[in-house]
Amino acid sequence: MNVAGLRADAARERAVLAALASPAFLILGGLLFIPAGWLFWLSFYDETGLSLANYRRMVTEPAYLSVFGVTLELSLLVTVLAVCLGYPLAYMIAKLPGRAATICLTLVLVPFWTALLVRTYAWLVLLQRRGILNTLLMKWGLIDQLLALVHNFTGTAIGMLHIMIPFLVLPVYANMRALDHDYMRAAASLGASPASAFWRVYLPLTFPGLAAGTVMVFVICLGFYVTPQFLGGGRVTTVSMKIQQNVTTYVDWGAASALGVVLFVMTAGIFWLASRVLSLRSLTGMQPP
C-alpha cells in the first residue's frame, strides 16, 4: 500500500540533501582537488619532461635536507612545549567552576580570533633587541646583555607555540571535562597517592584528547609559514617557505609541487598512525575525546 508514493518521498528527501551539499562539494572538488591533482602531476616534470629530478633533489641537496631538518625540529620542539604548557593549563581550567572555566577558555581562544599577522608583529614588539622584554629584564638587572629572542629559531618557536597552545588545550580540556570525577576518587580510595593516580589513571584516561591535540599541533606546525617568515629573520627556512621561494624566486612549479607532495604525505602518514593508535585506545574501552 502506498509503496510508490513513499518511495518518491524518500527520493525527494535525498535529492534535497544532495542539492544542499552540492555547493560545498563543487568548491572542494573544483577548487581544491583539481589544482592539487594538477600540482601533483607537475611535481613529476622538469624542463626535460617526465622525471623524478624534483624528488631526487630533496635527498641529494643539503639545502633541502636542512629545510626538512629545521621544519621537523621546530615542529617537534613546539609540540613538546605545547604539551608541557597546554596540558596543565587544560587541567586547571577543567578544575575551575563553570563560569570561571568559561572565562579562562575564552582567554585561551582570543588568539584564535586575532589575525595571525597582528599576533606575529606583537611578538616582534615584545621580543626584539630593544623590545619590551629585553628592556625590562635589563632594568631589573636580571640580564647584563640583550638576549637574541627574535629573528632566529627561538623567536620562531615562541611565536608558533603561542599560536598552537589553543589547538592542544581544546581537545585535552574537552576530554578532561567529560571525565567522571569518581575515577580519581576511586583511585585515591584504593590507595593511590595523587602522583600515582595521575600517572596510572588520569593520564591514560585523558590520553585520547592529548593525542588528538598533539597530532593537530604537530601537523599544523609542519606547514607553518607566516610566523617563521616574520620571526625567523631569514635564519629559519621551513618547507612552506621553501615552496614559496621556489614559486616566486625560481618560478619552479615542479620543485615547489614536489615539496608540497612530500609535506602532504608526511601529514597523511601521521594522521594514519594516530588513527591506528587512537582506535586501538577506543578498542580498549576508552571514550574518544
Binding site: D180, D182, Y183, R185, A186, A187, A188, S189, L190, G191, A192, S193, P194, S196, A197, R200, V201, P204, L205, T284, G285, M286, Q287
Partner: protein, 357 residues
C-alpha cells in the same frame, strides 16, 4: 579475609556550603562489623557525610575516628577504606583483573600473591572467569560486582557504599541485596551504606540512621525504626503511612471521641498523630464483635496490584486511609463492594502514636 573490622566514631561533624548547612553537628557510633545505612531524602546530607568519611570532602568542624585513629585530616589514599561508587568508577583502560589488582599493586603486593587474591575476590562475587574481560563487555550487575571485589580485595576495615545498586533494575537489585548480606556476614567488615530506598535499607542493615536537614533524626534497628518511629518525619519517610490527629489527656488517648487501646502509651499528655500503616489494618463487618481499635469507614476504591489489593477507605471526617490485602482468591471473593460501609480493626500492639510536629 577480614583484615580486622574497625569501629567508627563521628563527633559534631559540620559542613556548610555558603549559607546552607549540609551537616549540622552529626554524631554517630558504628560498632566494628556493623552494617549501618544512612537513609534520607535527596539533599538530606547523607552523601556529603559519606564523602567526608571517605575523605573526598573536607568538613568545617568535627572529629572522625576509625578505630583509635583520628582521620578527619588524613587524605583519602591513606585512609585504607573500600569505597563503592554509584557510577562504579571502574577504570576503562584496565581489564577486570587490572581493576581488582590495582589497590594491591599500589601496596606493593607481589605478582603471584596479587593474582591469587584477585582470583579469590572475584570468586567471592561469583565472577570467577571474568579476569581478562574488558569493562565495557560487562553488564551493569557484573560491573557492580567488580567494583565490590576491587573495594574489598585489600581487606579494608571499613567499606563505604554510595547508592551502589541504584543503577540496577529491580530484580537484579534485590538479588544483589541478598549477595551483599551474604558477603557482609562472611567478611565481617564495618559497612556504611547510603541509599534513599527504604526497603533496601530495611533489608540490608543492622541499624539505620535516618538523616534529614543535616541531622540524624533517628538511629535504630530496622524493626524498631519501622514499628517505633520517634517522630512524624521518620514515620512518614519509612512506610506508607496516613496520620490521624489524636489527643492524650490524663494518659488516655482519644481519636475524635473514641478511646484507643495502646500497648505502648506515651509518657506525656499532648497532641499526637496516630500512624496508620496499610498492612496493620484488617477489615471486619460493621458492628462485628472483637477486640482492638475500631474505625468505621466507607470503601472508596479497590485497586488490583498483582501481589496485593490496595483499598482506599474514607472515614467519617473525610480523611482517606489505605489498606493492603494479599491477593488470595478467597480474600478477593470476600471483599466488600465499592461504597460499602466496613469496620476496620487495628491491634493495640500495632497502634502507634508519634508526637504531632
Amino acid at each position: 579475609m577480614s583484615g580486622g573490622a574497625l569501629p567508627i566514631a563521628v563527633r559534631e561533624l559540620t559542613k556548610r556550603y555558603g549559607q546552607a548547612t549540609v551537616l549540622d553537628g552529626v554524631d554517630i557510633d558504628v560498632a566494628s562489623g556493623e552494617f549501618l545505612t544512612l537513609l534520607g531524602p535527596s539533599g538530606s546530607g547523607k552523601t556529603t557525610l559519606l564523602m567526608i568519611l571517605a575523605g573526598f570532602t573536607r568538613p568545617d568542624a568535627g572529629s572522625l575516628r576509625f578505630g583509635a585513629q583520628e582521620m578527619v585530616r588524613t587524605p583519602p589514599h591513606r585512609r585504607n577504606l573500600g569505597v563503592v561508587f554509584q557510577s562504579y568508577a571502574l577504570f576503562p583502560h584496565m581489564d577486570v583483573a587490572g581493576n581488582v589488582g590495582f589497590p594491591l599493586s599500589l601496596r606493593g603486593v607481589s605478582v603471584d600473591e596479587r593474582r591469587r587474591r584477585v582470583r579469590t575476590a572475584l570468586e567471592l562475587v561469583r565472577l570467577d572467569d571474568f579476569g581478562s574481560r574488558r569493562i565495557d563487555q560487562l553488564s551493569g550487575g557484573q560491573r557492580q560486582r567488580v567494583a565490590l571485589a576491587r573495594a574489598i580485595v585489600f581487606e579494608p576495615g571499613v567499606l563505604l557504599m554510595d547508592e551502589p545498586l541504584s543503577a540496577l533494575d529491580k530484580k537484579l537489585r534485590e538479588q544483589m541485596q541478598i549477595e551483599l548480606r551474604r558477603l557482609h556476614a562472611r567478611l565481617g567488615m564495618t559497612v556504611i551504606y547510603v541509599t534513599h530506598d527504604q526497603r533496601e535499607a530495611l533489608t540490608l542493615s543492622d541499624r539505620i540512621a535516618v538523616i534529614d536537614h543535616g541531622r540524624i533524626q533517628q538511629i535504630d534497628t530496622p524493626r524498631r525504626l519501622y514499628e517505633r518511629p520517634g517522630s512524624h518525619f521518620v514515620a512518614d519517610f519509612i512506610g506508607d503511612s496516613t496520620f490521624l490527629p489524636v489527643s492524650v489527656i490524663d494518659g488516655v488517648a482519644r481519636w475524635q471521641d473514641r478511646v484507643l487501646a495502646l500497648a505502648d502509651p506515651p509518657a506525656m499528655d499532648g497532641k499526637f498523630l496516630l500512624v496508620i500503616r496499610p498492612e496493620k489494618l484488617a477489615i471486619v463487618g460493621v458492628g462485628a464483635a472483637g477486640g482492638g481499635n475500631r474505625i468505621d469507614a466507607v470503601v472508596e476504591d479497590i485497586v488490583y496490584q498483582g501481589d496485593s489489593l490496595r483499598i482506599d477507605l474514607r472515614l467519617a471526617d473525610g480523611a482517606v486511609i489505605t489498606l493492603n490485602e494479599p491477593a488470595r482468591a478467597a480474600r478477593i471473593a470476600a471483599l466488600p463492594a465499592r461504597g460499602a460501609a466496613v469496620g476496620l480493626v487495628m491491634d493495640p500492639a500495632d497502634t502507634l502514636l508519634v508526637p504531632a510536629p
